[in-house]
Subunit: 203 residues, 2 copies
DNA sequence: GACGGTGCCTAACGGTGTTCGGCGCGTACC
DNA sequence: GGTACGCGCCGAACACCGTTAGGCACCGTC
C-alpha cells in the first residue's frame, strides 16, 4: 500500500470510481455470498473466536463440512471478508474527501469511524500479512488511493499518516490507552502535524 | 499507558532503574521459569501457531497436562511472556535515552529494534487487550516511562509518538508496506514532525 | 427415463486447551 | 525406621477446531 504505483502517478477521480465498481462478491455464488455475509455478522457480533466453521454452519442451518462446497477453506472465507472490508473502505474514503476542506482530516476521521464501527473486521484486515493470492485484485489499492490522492501523490506522507492512524485506531480498539486519555485531541494534534499548515516553515 | 500517572509527575532516573529491578519471573518457580523461557523460544522460532501446550510440552520433555502444575493456563503463560517483554523493553528504552542527543529518536529506534528482533513476542504484546489481572504489576508502565520522560511529561505527545511508532512497526512486521518503501526515511520524517525542531515556527 | 452435477449429510482424522484420577518418589515427622 | 504427605508427572478423556472422504437425494438436461 502507498507504493504500488510510481511516485509520478496522477490519479483521476474517475479511476477511483471505476475501481469501486468492481464488486468483490460478484465472483461468488449466491450461497457463498450469503455465507460470507453471515460470517461477517457472526464475527462482529461474537468476536474472532466465534468465527468457526461449525458455528458458522449453525447460523446458516447446515453442517460445517457443507460450507466447503461454496468456499475453498477458512482462509478463503477470511479473504472474502477482508476484500469486502477494503471495498467498503474505498467507498467510504472516496465519499469522505468529496468537498472536504481538509481532505486528510476527513479521511482519518472516516478511517477511525470504520474501525470503531466494525472493530473485529478491522482487526482481521490488519493483524496479519495479507493473502494477496486470495484477495479480490486491486481492492487494497482502491482503499489506499484516496489518501494518496489527498497527499498529492506523496507516498512518504501517505505512509506516515496511515501508520499514525492505524496505530491510534488499533491501540484504541485494544484498550491500550487509559480511559482518561482524550483521543480526539491526540488525533487532532497528530493530524495537524502531518497535514497542518505546510507553509509554516516558508518565509 | 501514557496516562496512568498524573500529568505533573516528575520521573527521576532512579525510579526507572528501580522498576526495572522488579524481575517478572521472580514470582515463578524454577520449573515455571524454564517453561516460560522455552515457550518464548518456541514462539519466536516457529510462530504463534506453534505455541501450543502439547508442542511446548514436547520441547521440555513432559506432557501438556503437566504444564498446568506450574502455570495456571495458557493465558497465564502468555501473560508471563508479555510481562517479560515489557520488562526487557523498559531496560532497553532506559538504556537508549542515556546520553542521547535526541531522546525521542533514540527511543523510537530502540522500539523498532525490539519489534524486529522478536516480532512474534511484539505481536503477542500488542495484538489484544492486555490482561492486567495476569500481568506483573507495573511492568507496562515501566516500559512507557522513558518516552513519557522524553516528552517532558506530555502524555498527549507521548501517545501520538507511540501510535505512530506502533503503526509503523506493526505494518512493517505484517508486510503491509511495499518492498520499495524506504521505511527509514518515513520513520525519520515522522519522528521529525513529532520531536523535531520545535523552534522552527519561532521567529 | 437415465445421467450428471449440486448441495447436503455422517463419520472420521489429527489438532487444540483443559480436567481428572492415579502413581511414584522424596521429604518430613513421629 | 516407618509413615504420611505432597509434588510432579502420566494417561485418558471432554469439547472444541479445520478439513476430508464417501454417500445420498434431488433436479435439470439429454
Amino acid at each position: 500500500m502507498f507504493g504500488a504505483y510510481p511516485n509520478t502517478v496522477r490519479v483521476r477521480k474517475e479511476e477511483v470510481i471505476q475501481m469501486q465498481a468492481t464488486r468483490v462478491l460478484d465472483g461468488l455464488t449466491p450461497r457463498a455470498r450469503e455465507i460470507v455475509q453471515v460470517a461477517r455478522e457472526l464475527l462482529e457480533r461474537e468476536g474472532p473466536a466465534a468465527l468457526s466453521m461449525r458455528r458458522l454452519g449453525d447460523q446458516i442451518g447446515i453442517r460445517a463440512s457443507s460450507i466447503y462446497e461454496h468456499l475453498r477453506d477458512k482462509d478463503a472465507l477470511e479473504a472474502a471478508l477482508i476484500s469486502v472490508g477494503f471495498e467498503e473502505q474505498a467507498e467510504l474514503f472516496a465519499r469522505a474527501v468529496q468537498g472536504a476542506a481538509n481532505p486528510i482530516l476527513a479521511l482519518t476521521s472516516a478511517y477511525r469511524d470504520f474501525a470503531r464501527r466494525q472493530p473485529n473486521l478491522y482487526r482481521l484486515m490488519t493483524e496479519r500479512a495479507l493473502r494477496h493470492d486470495l484477495l479480490a485484485p486491486g481492492v487494497e489499492e482502491a482503499a489506499a488511493l484516496p489518501l494518496l490522492h489527498a497527499t498529492g501523490g506523496d507516498h512518504e506522507q501517505a505512509r506516515a499518516i496511515w501508520a499514525f492512524a492505524h496505530g491510534m485506531v488499533i491501540l484504541e480498539l485494544n484498550h491500550r490507552f487509559p480511559g482518561s486519555a482524550d483521543l480526539d485531541t491526540t488525533w487532532r494534534k497528530g493530524i495537524d502535524l502531518f497535514a497542518g499548515q505546510p507553509d509554516a516553515d516558508q518565509p
